[in-house]
């Protein structure tokens, strides 16, 4: 089937065709969801390992597709697999960036024409924030990524993380508090009111 018509087909149709052995339909699903999967993976494990986690997640989804019941949207189900794959990778590598790295200025292009000061400052804040986010404990990090960066609803997050909505809200509150505390303890002034 031409890629163009595949792009307009709903996930359910592509899933059905994949289950019938049509690998091009699965390719359509990967193409459609790769951006969100890589983004979530990158924000949990860092950009270096994000593509490997995404590949792992898609392959797990491919093999588990016969068990997909359609109770949740395919994207939600896929994000559940992605976040599990990301947490496994983290548990495997035990990577937690040290604060010392955070405070080290990043080598950058000092050409004032190409890199205005405001732009440099914005990028530096972005980099430090990314590092701080990765210092959060993994289960909290997933919550902040899914809610505050990906904009998932509480219901969707509850499905991804397999916990009641009340727990999602409570943990998200604690996750944000922990991140705020991490930022306040940073040498950089984040101007976060008490």
């Amino acid at each position: 089937m031409p890629a163009q018509s595949q792009a307009t087909e709903p996930d359910e149709v592509l899933i059905e065709r994949t289950l019938q052995g049509e690998l091009s339909a699965f390719e359509g699903l990967v193409e459609r969801h790769r951006a969100v999967v890589v983004r979530v993976a990158a924000r949990i494990v860092g950009s270096d390992a994000a593509e490997d986690v995404a590949q792992d997640a898609f392959l797990r989804a491919f093999h588990r597709l016969p068990q997909y019941r359609g109770n949740a949207a395919f994207r939600t189900w896929l994000l559940q697999i992605t976040q599990n794959a990301a947490l496994n990778t983290l548990a495997w590598s035990r990577r937690r960036p040290a604060d010392a790295v955070d405070d080290a200025p990043e080598p950058h292009d000092t050409d004032p024409v190409r890199q205005p000061v405001t732009e440099l400052e914005r990028r530096e804040r972005q980099r430090r924030l990314e590092l701080k986010l990765r210092t959060l404990r993994p289960e909290y990090r997933s919550l902040v990524v899914l809610r505050d960066l990906e904009g998932l609803s509480y219901g969707e997050i509850a499905q991804v993380l397999e916990m009641p909505i009340g727990s999602v809200k409570g943990r998200l509150h604690r996750a944000r508090a922990e991140l705020i505390e991490l930022l306040r303890n940073n040498t950089y002034d984040w101007e976060l009111p008490a």
């Binding site: 699965f26 990967v30 983004r39 995404a54 590949q55 924030l129 990314e130 505050d148 705020i180």
Partner: protein, 94 residues
């Protein structure tokens, strides 16, 4: 570019500040893998699918062989340990 809208939660002032900082991360999307990722996934799915059936077959055959060996050798008797009352049947009795 539209103004950033924080998540529609009941946010404290600090959480609101955090939400604005997190918006910084939204300005720079991580690389999303591109076509190379799609090709890699599909390639891996193809060969894994190809070897899955033979592997399942090998697993089933191994299971049948193990059952057959168990049948031929008969049930394995596990040595029994000391009873809960102790090894000496008369122990503790007055």
């Amino acid at each position: 570019m539209t103004a950033y809208e924080p998540p529609a939660d009941d946010l404290t002032p600090a959480e609101l500040g955090l939400a604005r900082h997190l918006a910084l991360l939204l300005q720079e999307e991580p690389a999303t893998g591109g076509g190379a990722l799609v090709a890699r996934v599909v390639r891996a799915a193809r060969w894994q699918e190809a070897v899955r059936e033979p592997l399942v077959l090998v697993g089933n055959v191994a299971g049948i062989l193990a059952d057959a060996v168990r049948l031929v050798l008969g049930p394995v008797e596990h040595p029994t340990g000391p009873t809960e009352r102790g090894t000496d049947p008369g122990q503790g009795e007055t």
